[in-house]
């Protein structure tokens, strides 16, 4: 089962190294990981997706908490969080296919970032599932490149971690 763990850490060199090192050492698998600074410039927020059972996630949380530079760890409930990922996708496009690609973009709410006589570069921010769908729909046009950021997430409502 995929679970989303939010981690607040000291915004210092080497912290990310400690986190990823912990995952490899304890044999936990990371599905995705995204980092960025928070409103407080001394704190970064890391969003980690792990695909494991509850016991493993509990151990991940506890081991993360042991790192001195980790300030807070919280597993976000699937039903009460907003999780988004950004994808930039470059696809082959010509006079024949461009309109079909545009139709899919309109359906999925994707944006065109760049266009050339032979290609289109598209941008979509959505849930990982919908990004997968979009990617599947683009495959017949021959995808040149895909870049995804990994999920970032917050819990719904006025609370914070």
């Amino acid at each position: 089962m995929k679970q989303t763990i939010s981690v607040l850490v000291e915004n210092r060199a080497g912290v990310l190294n400690r986190i990823t090192g912990l995952f490899s050492r304890r044999a936990f698998n990371i599905e995705s990981l995204a980092v960025g600074v928070t409103d407080d410039p001394t704190i970064s927020r890391i969003t980690i997706i792990v695909d494991s059972g509850n016991n493993v996630v509990e151990q991940v949380e506890k081991q993360l908490n042991k790192l001195i530079e980790v300030i807070k760890v919280r597993t976000l409930e699937e039903t009460s969080m907003i999780g988004r990922e950004l994808m930039i996708l470059k696809v082959n496009a010509n006079n024949k296919t461009r309109q079909d690609i545009m139709t899919i973009c309109e359906i999925m709410d994707a944006k065109v970032d760049d266009i050339s006589p032979t290609s289109m570069t598209l941008e979509l921010s959505d849930t990982p599932d919908r990004l997968d769908t979009f990617q599947t729909m683009m495959r017949p046009f021959s995808i040149l490149e895909v870049v995804r950021t990994g999920v970032i997430a917050v819990q719904k409502g006025g609370g914070k971690i």
């Binding site: 850490v9 000291e10 080497g14 190294n17 400690r18 090192g21 050492r25 016991n55 509990e58 151990q59 506890k62 081991q63 908490n65 042991k66 790192l67 001195i68 530079e69 980790v70 300030i71 807070k72």
Partner: protein
């Protein structure tokens, strides 16, 4: 004042009395600053790994943080095993390493290595100092982190230019404030009540005590709980010597290499109270089976230990000493364990009366250890190495009110001799004995020089069987196909080695001579080596 002087000043603020180290180019400023402070003792080790083990021995008997200091590159990498050994046994330690100049970091220059990166998986925390003004704060934090919560090694890596940097003003902080580090101390009241209820219900309760009890200094509380509630006690290797061997509630060591009576008790208990132990594979071979068969209580300072190896029914997180005191204050009920205790006494008697095999011209380690134990001081510290010697000592050396120090977690050969040197630095008057095999002795015998240099009274018992005994034993058990690569051919004449360091030695090959030889050995002034000739085919199951 420069960074190096600020470092030594900070160590003095932390009441450091001894440093184990090895100088080298990038740590020279710190060594130079140390020279001005004769109040801090200094031991020059013969290889950096042993600086870690000495600091460990020092920390374990003094209850203080052990300190070691080495140079960059190979000095730091040699120290790695010492740091990992301390980490696996949760020993409070601060390791200081020199580093190449900060503006050259990452260029792979002479004696540069990323030591903070290298030790990340097995250190509690580490610092790479980038500004000398931060040294007092960092040292304060390092000692705090090393010694509180679940103790462990902390590394401070200081580039040479930072050691030479002038600081603005030396100010040693009174307090630390690390927002991500707030270890629990007190146990949850509700959980403690549940523990008391579980104890009251139990007919066949058992305490399993580990190294965490020593680390928290909770020996008295443990004994009080066991005696007041009439609960027998088994120990892990790290918890050994928590109770005298002849205590009626003592059942010895559990585990794959433990005492039969301890394992039998574990197999038949209806309530297991684990105190300061992680229940790793060597102690608890099948944790799932135990979970299924009995109620379990797990008391530990590290929340991550709860549910890691074993899923306890009642977890209790906090300082073991504080929690046991909370439990004792609850007017803990006496369990109805009389029948259970009687049954266990039979097992215990069978174990203590165990007759060891005898081979003409050889000493059986179990026999030697029983005889040695009978003659040791009441509070002697015994440092034991790794291999068959470790198993024999942990199983059969009679414990009184002293300590038994060994590398329980990492199983580092060559630990005992340097650890004993560390013990002597903390407790110069305490009887200190090393037990090792001829394999482990050869990993550490260069430190005889450190013993000689300080004229330390350390007694070394060497079981010589000319083979790596435990591996030899494993190789002769399925699925393996016999011994290979374990004969210690080419070993030196150990008496000649000792003599070369000016250390007297004795050899014993006849068990009838044991008592007399042990008496002579322990009565010798200063360091002495006792070589016991052991048959190579002896196994720990004999």
């Amino acid at each position: 004042m420069n960074g190096a002087q600020a470092l030594i000043r900070s160590l003095i603020e932390e009441q450091v009395t001894h440093i184990f180290g090895y100088a080298g180019a990038t740590i020279c400023p710190a060594v130079d600053a140390l020279k001005e402070h004769p109040e801090i003792g200094y031991t020059l080790v013969r290889t950096e790994q042993n600086a870690g083990h000495m600091a460990s021995g020092y920390a374990r008997v003094s209850g203080k943080v052990g300190v070691c200091m080495v140079t960059s590159g190979p000095g730091a990498t040699n120290l790695i095993t010492g740091i990992a050994t301390a980490y696996m046994d949760s020993i409070p330690m601060v390791a200081i390493t020199g580093q190449v100049p900060s503006h050259l970091l990452g260029r792979d220059i002479f004696q540069e290595v990323d030591i903070t990166g290298a030790v990340a998986p097995f250190s509690k925390h580490s610092y790479l100092v980038k500004d000398a003004n931060e040294i007092p704060r960092i040292v304060k934090e390092a000692f705090h982190i090393a010694s509180t919560g679940r103790p462990g090694p902390v590394l401070i890596d200081i580039p040479i230019d930072i050691q030479n940097q002038e600081i603005k003003k030396f100010h040693y902080p009174e307090e630390v404030n690390i927002r991500g580090y707030k270890p629990s101390v007190k146990g949850n009241e509700l959980q403690i009540k549940r523990v008391a209820q579980a104890i009251a219900r139990a007919k066949q309760p058992l305490i399993c005590a580990g190294g965490g009890v020593w680390l928290a200094g909770a020996q008295e509380e443990l004994l009080e709980l066991a005696e007041r509630c009439a609960i027998p006690v088994v120990k892990t290797m790290m918890g050994l010597a928590l109770m005298p061997s002849d205590h009626p509630l003592n059942l010895g060591m559990i585990g794959a290499h433990g005492n039969h009576c301890a394992n039998k008790a574990l197999a038949k208990a209806d309530l297991l109270i684990m105190v300061g132990t992680r229940a790793a594979d060597r102690a608890v071979v099948d944790p799932k089976d135990i979970q299924r068969r009995m109620a379990t209580i797990h008391i530990d300072v590290d929340p991550a230990e709860i549910g890691k190896n074993m899923q306890a029914a009642i977890p209790l997180v906090g300082n073991v000493k504080v929690i046991l005191r909370q439990l004792l204050d609850l007017d803990t009920p006496v369990t109805d364990s009389a029948a259970w205790l009687e049954q266990l006494q039979d097992y215990r008697k069978a174990e203590l009366g165990r007759i060891f095999p005898h081979r003409e011209g050889y000493i059986f380690p179990g026999t030697a250890l029983r005889r040695l134990g009978a003659q040791l001081d009441d509070n002697a510290v015994v440092c034991v190495d790794v291999g068959q010697n470790q198993i024999f000592t942990c199983k059969y050396l009679p414990q009184k009110h002293g300590r038994l120090l060994t590398s329980g977690g990492l199983g580092t050969m060559g630990y005992a001799l340097p650890a004993a040197i560390g013990v002597k630095a903390a407790l110069p008057e305490r009887q200190t004995v090393v037990v090792c095999g001829d394999g482990s002795f050869q990993m550490a015998m260069n430190e005889l020089a450190a013993i000689r240099a300080a004229d330390l009274d350390i007694k070394i018992v060497l079981f010589q069987n000319n083979v790596l005994g435990l591996v030899h034993q494993i190789q002769n058990t399925a699925p393996y196909h016999g011994s290979f690569g374990v004969a210690l051919d080419g070993s030196p004449d150990f008496q000649a080695i000792a003599a070369a360091y000016g250390i007297p030695s004795l050899v014993v090959r006849d068990e009838d001579q044991l008592d007399q030889t042990v008496a002579e050995f322990l009565g010798t002034r200063g360091c002495c080596l006792l070589i016991c000739s052991v048959h190579p085919d002896v196994t720990t199951n004999d």
